[in-house]
Symmetry: C2
Subunit: 214 residues, 2 copies
């Protein structure tokens, strides 16, 4: 057997093994990434629990008689509170003090918070839109009698929370509801574009209300 033939075989063996090992490494890394990207789901109604400790500026405890265990609500609050740069909320109704509290805490921590909601439902007494505005959070809303019926939020432009759940105590503690948490880049991009489109459409400087001439 010639020396060059043997060299060639050695080279092929090395390339083959390196490709296999490197391929395996990237495959494992990719599989881990895919697993992380997979959506997760929360079902409601959630048990009535206290999420106040999550909203405190420094780690603390609460002595109220409510249970303090993990629930679909606490998981959702934790997600909102995990925002570091931006929190874009686009929900039909916001009256839950637990969820609106999480949004307010994110705002106080310096996260850029934007809220889109429905004009008909934001006037309800329980709506937290007024509290948001008082705290300096910009809220925009539709200008017609149809519903801005989305119920989603985007965390740091990379995590989408969406589903059937309106952000109300009735929905959280009493209704049959679902919320899906999605990291898939294409879906997050589609919802980000929808948010920006509506944010632009509902820009108050573009209101086209024309009072009837007297």
């Amino acid at each position: 057997m010639s020396s060059s033939h043997s060299l060639w075989r050695g080279l092929v063996a090395t390339v083959g093994l390196v490709l296999t090992a490197e391929g395996l490494y990237y495959l494992l890394r990719y599989l881990k990434w895919v697993r992380e990207q997979q959506p997760r789901v929360l079902f409601f109604p959630a048990p009535v629990t206290c999420v106040r400790p999550l909203l405190l500026a420094s780690p603390g405890r609460c002595d109220c008689p409510l249970p303090h265990r993990e629930s679909a609500l606490s998981r959702m609050a934790r997600l909102l509170l995990s925002a570091r740069r931006s929190l874009d909320v686009c929900v039909f109704t916001i009256s839950s003090l637990d969820l609106s509290g999480s949004v307010l805490v994110a705002h106080e921590r310096g996260v850029r918070v934007r809220v889109i909601t429905d004009s008909d439902y934001m006037a309800l007494a329980s709506s937290q839109v007024g509290t948001f505005r008082k705290a300096g959070i910009e809220v925009r809303h539709d200008q017609d009698t149809n519903y801005m019926h989305h119920k989603f939020a985007l965390i740091d432009g990379s995590i989408l929370i969406t589903g059937s759940l309106n952000w109300s105590a009735q929905a959280i503690f009493r209704n049959k509801e679902n919320v899906i948490i999605i990291k898939d880049a294409d879906i997050v991009k589609a919802f980000t574009e929808e948010f920006e489109r509506l944010w632009n459409e509902y820009d108050p400087t573009k209101y086209s209300f024309s009072p009837q001439s007297s």
Copy 2:
């Protein structure tokens, strides 16, 4: 160089290359599968289009003046009509004739259709629950004043349609809404279990209504 050494190198080369080629094959197959599993999204309002040709028993056309192009509504109807074995619908309100028509056609084709809905909203004049029951589709509903507020459907136990969209013309043609189509096995399993749990909970033989003794 000894013959055994050369043989060993040849073997390693072959194993390496086979592993690389086979690994590449499975990686490509896996990537294709992952791409197919990725969720897709439909946004509403949809333009008012005619989906009647989709509901005909044999391919046909419709001469009505409405546009007949593809839309978020026609895509959703196509998905419902793609059911071959089972169609499990779990929605707060069903009044859209286009979507209820798709469910009825699936039922007529022999697909096992089950519907879960909300007891308060199924009594509305526009609800298609009565039409479903008349056609022989079993419909179950909650027994309390809270809302069965889900808006999802499972096609052949492998595709999930879910989002903010109630199955009404108002939601489809006028509101800001979203629908996500998900094939992820874990999420489909979670919603299938939720459906079965509610189907069992709302079994009419378990109704616990107790008339007050006179």
